[in-house]
Subunit: 111 residues, 2 copies
């Protein structure tokens, strides 16, 4: 089954939401979690993920903690306080957008 294309803007929200539930995660873990939760429907590519994580970090929404497990590098990310607030507003923004889409695509239900 072909996997869904990512819609612009949703990746950041997905990352933040996962981190709000799992305390700390590393990049590769995020790709696997998304794959599992969506039954393979959505594959986060590394080319999209890592730059996003870096941007979230430089924006002060995430903080990093480097660890070495089985002789391999891991970069654990966790939400900062600012990141937690941003998660709330990003989720609201996304839910608002989904409601707006409903109004457009299912106009009969929205009055």
């Amino acid at each position: 089954m072909a996997n869904s294309k990512l819609y612009k803007g949703s990746l950041t929200t997905i990352i933040l939401k996962l981190l709000s539930e799992h305390n700390k995660m590393y990049g590769y873990e995020i790709t696997q979690k998304v794959k599992a939760l969506t039954k393979g429907e959505l594959q986060i590519t590394e080319g999209a993920l890592y730059p996003s994580l870096h941007k979230l970090e430089s924006d002060g929404l995430l903080e990093v903690e480097v660890a070495k497990v089985d002789n391999r590098l891991r970069k654990y990310y966790k939400l900062t306080e600012k990141g937690s607030k941003e998660t709330v507003s990003k989720l609201e923004e996304l839910e608002q957008y989904l409601a707006t889409l409903q109004a457009l695509l299912n106009p009969k239900l929205s009055f």
Copy 2:
């Protein structure tokens, strides 16, 4: 109220869906219809709309009919047969994505 940003890929689907319900529409009409249906939440900019319409036309999904009303130009767009089919698959694709997002953002509900 700040209006929602457009998520990548949804504009084309919105245009196609509106045209599947209204037979023929012109560009400015589409911007007003979207604004009305979403109570101002979503504003389709002309810089996004017109290039999209041109692309849909050159892809054979829309056909154009030029009219002059009140001494002003209007370009009415309507779905071709190919466009009608594409509308169906685009809507399925979007609904699939929304379901995938649900699985990610509301994991408790998806099992």
